[in-house]
Subunit: 301 residues, 2 copies
Amino acid sequence: MSYSIIGTGGIGGYFGGCLARAGKEVHFLLHKDYNFVREHGLQVNSCRGDFHLDGVNAYDNSADMPASDVVIVALKSINNPLLKDLLPPLLKPDTLVLLIENGIGVEAQVQAMFPQALLAAGLAFICTAKTGPGVIHHQDLGKLTIAPYTPGAEQRTAEVIRDFTEAGVKAVTAEYLEARWKKQVWNMPFNGMTVALNTSTDALMANPSTAALIRAQMLEVIAAARALGVKNIDENFADLMLEMTAGMKPYAPSMKLDHDFGRPMEIGAIYTEALRQAREAGCPMPRLEMLEAQLRFIEGR
Amino acid sequence: MSYSIIGTGGIGGYFGGCLARAGKEVHFLLHKDYNFVREHGLQVNSCRGDFHLDGVNAYDNSADMPASDVVIVALKSINNPLLKDLLPPLLKPDTLVLLIENGIGVEAQVQAMFPQALLAAGLAFICTAKTGPGVIHHQDLGKLTIAPYTPGAEQRTAEVIRDFTEAGVKAVTAEYLEARWKKQVWNMPFNGMTVALNTSTDALMANPSTAALIRAQMLEVIAAARALGVKNIDENFADLMLEMTAGMKPYAPSMKLDHDFGRPMEIGAIYTEALRQAREAGCPMPRLEMLEAQLRFIEGR
């Protein structure tokens, strides 16, 4: 199967890089780093072993790319409107579009643009970031959950999981709504709280007041997820996420990096739409509504 | 009636200064500013007209002060344990101790130290701060609510209100619990939020997200107050406080100043005890619990 990567940052560069290293056909769409990667290749500095890719299939325009069996979209959700132009050249009738993005509602948004496309959600439990032109730093973890969204996407999803497994990535499948909301259990507390308090995950875990607050926020997400029909989730999942975080190296989530580097934050996908759905389901999340308001204030400053 | 002021800062200096200007006998306990005020007097720069007091009755030790009819305690609540030594020389059997402090539970704390003392709560709706040695800056507002706490404190409270009125201060009485919790409706949102977001009241009011959040936090306090038995309070009081704040000049509440100048914040009196009582009454305040956790994190940094 052939792959195209839209958005060669921490996520797209790492997962695409793993597939390419394993000999899969991978085409990378780049923007600022196009010339550098075309000339010097892609460097992945990973806690599981560094590797370098030469002769990368690099593009600065999706119109020049071949249609692929799988398109991995690893943009900031805020840039999804760009897909209207970026995606069409890459689509075959049975292409799977895998959205490895944060937040709630991103598949619905893209499906509305491309009603015929087969979509799947990708949930990356990984600490990774682009740290320089063509340089990806993979700091910790690395599991990828892939959940079919469009009816009929199941078989292609299974094939993608097989490819990732061959490429050394721990990839599993899951039910769509469950997968998206489980990711939110980590994303909603930690992304915003590291921005609001200008800190990193380890400091939030080390202070008993914020550690208890993070847990309370996680329980708000879990209650909302259950109200929205996610069955396989309960309080234990909060403790699992807290244990995982306690075992992680100090980490600045993507929203913290976005804020620090003056990029827009993904408040809409990570907070606004999730909060709206929770309210509509009769299960509002007051602490996370407060966090959203603080982020909107910080964004407007 | 004779007055002693314990804590000659923004509050004690302003209200004590108004009484002295009106010819009342007022004794001021000072700490760092003692020598300066003894020599140069007290300067009050007020939006209602500046004034200067010469020949101030200044002391650096309460043991040197005469027993008074009224003792105004205008310390940070965090320093109340000092009252064990500061108060006894000032007390006559019928002395009224007026605690113009922030928070919930301060009268109970002081009454436990002095079971025989007549206590009243003072709630100052005023923007005032000490801006230099012996210099008080009165920026805005100025109403003082005095609520008898100890049974039997009613008559002396009425006399104090008469004196303040003669001194040009708008002073009124109110029921104790109602008065304390109405002050909390403003204090709990604005003190912590200006610290958490490093901002001032006007910026929080100007952003629609934080303006809505502040209102939601006010409604949490109002619901808790009602659960604790305060009858004369409802949603309208939140709107009244928001209107008042919208009409104020940009203001940094006392907790913001404390934080900016590296002094301890009054988290215990303004948050912890109020949150505990609200939980006990079956009416927790999730947004304000979150704010307390953020403040504890900031305090620990």
